[in-house]
Subunit: 340 residues, 2 copies
Amino acid sequence: MVGIEEVAARAGVSTATVSRALNDKSHVSKTARKKVFEAAEELGYVPSSSAYTLATGKTRTVGVVVPFVDRWFFSVVLQGISTALNDRGLNIAFYSLKGDLDQRARVFNDLLLRKNVDGVLTVAVKLASHELEKLSSLRKSIVGVGGPITGARSLGIDDEGAGRLATQHLLSLGHTKIGIITGGPSTELEFHQPYLRQTGYREALMDAGLDFQKNWFAEADFTMPGAYHAAKQILGDPRSAPTAIFCASDEMAFGAIQAAKDLGYSVPDDISVIGMDNHDLSGFYNLTTINQKPADQGAAAANMLVNLFDQDLEDKKLNIQEFHEWPIELLIRGSTARRR
Amino acid sequence: MVGIEEVAARAGVSTATVSRALNDKSHVSKTARKKVFEAAEELGYVPSSSAYTLATGKTRTVGVVVPFVDRWFFSVVLQGISTALNDRGLNIAFYSLKGDLDQRARVFNDLLLRKNVDGVLTVAVKLASHELEKLSSLRKSIVGVGGPITGARSLGIDDEGAGRLATQHLLSLGHTKIGIITGGPSTELEFHQPYLRQTGYREALMDAGLDFQKNWFAEADFTMPGAYHAAKQILGDPRSAPTAIFCASDEMAFGAIQAAKDLGYSVPDDISVIGMDNHDLSGFYNLTTINQKPADQGAAAANMLVNLFDQDLEDKKLNIQEFHEWPIELLIRGSTARRR
DNA sequence: CTGAAAGCGCTTACAG
DNA sequence: CTGAAAGCGCTTACAG
């Protein structure tokens, strides 16, 4: 394992000059710089990042914490984060919280803190106040994606507004019998998306002078099978079936579309369905949805965090509460149509 | 940021004793150990991993390289790796190669090498020989998941055998007109799965004395929409349609099932469909498939790698070519049936 | 069982 | 522009 000393010896300069040259600092003559690069190249020199970190306090690494990775939203956000960070030459220390609370405690107390990350990016993970404090006391900047975080910077969409927009789209098409499939209690724990999207739906109904109907409401687990069964329940009775359904995620919308078809309904002729996400497959399902571009959200959050590194933050200002609203857009495809 | 000195001072011992106690080494009296833990707790001491790494040469970190993360197989493998590694107190340095070759070069030359990882786990990434050499020269152990890697240890299923098994299942049900949808050239670059699975299919046909029929063969991109269109093509002409289709992934099988239904066929009464993966949704689609448990594969590969850390490997034996075949099983659900 | 001290491989004021 | 040397925060023979 060749070290900086050997490079210095071969280049005929001091280790200080090698360091300056390789890190692109000023005050290095062109000839010295050239000799250093040649020597490093010839020796196959790879700097030790731990020595760099120990000397500078910088780790060039961002901790990324997700609740799961084997779900569409999270994997796409991670993809966006990964690209943004790698492009800037930064590494990712990856933690998936899947599993029990022990696992979570281990990540926060053991791995993440020890790992000497420059900052932390959480995806739809609600930090407990003691977790936030611990991280702050170690001077780590934090940015959350997927909803507001108490006591830290975060970025996400206006879930309530999104629910309202989706519902208003259905209203504008003349629908008055509008159902909703949102997330259930088990999906509610960490993030409030299900509740907020439902709130937006209720507001839109109220503004239109319509009442909330319990039999047009169902909770599912954000999966296609879950929503399939929920939609069958809602659409099953032909006397009381709604003519449109808002689903709080595209995957649930796929399930609802399938359920409608299996019940003999035509989408959108009999039933309009609107989703939320703009999932990879939503084009295939011809699904009207709300585009929230998770990859871009991930990249934007990563950039926010990295920009903080460049600033000198005082102790008090390290983590301030600040929500950046991510714009959404209605993406109209063929699963919604005017009520017949 | 409280360091080991402060803990030592507070506990009334030397830093050496603090280090021994906290790292669970022997030769520390119970009283000393207790004092150290109390002092560390009270001060909220978090050891510096860069100092640890510099002193020991161990990073407690594994580099994980995937081609993408926003695809089912990879995200599930990553989930398995993540759980296995975190349980052992190891960190993940995560790299997604999505994108161009520049990105790949940057990951291999810059990030991964510098990052001081103890070893590298690659998922369905075929290492170029110069990449492998560079990593080996830096004494990193390597384990690959998802197919054999030339010059390194790897773990994966027997893709050819899997293709054969799937086809034999269809044959055993009396089918003689069996189509296949496998991966196209664009999915072939890194891994040979599509080709191997197809080879298994052809072998099984041959063994049964059946000829390969070009119009029952199609290539898609491992997505549901891709396979949907491919399946329509294969099944479209009722005079020449096969009675069964083997799809090289479950997501493609979902597309094929959908296509069959949209053409008015019943699955499995008219058309049997078998997939491969055991995707989260394959139960919902009632899909007969080959279970390859990617999460377990990821965990097993992680454990293989970690076990290497504990061994003292000579220079020559650091990375030896060694393929560990992962067992598969036929998982029979309702999408396949005896030919009518 | 315990401690003083060297050493891991860098960076960076400081002095020239 | 350049170099000698201190320092980053740990671990670990070595000696006691």
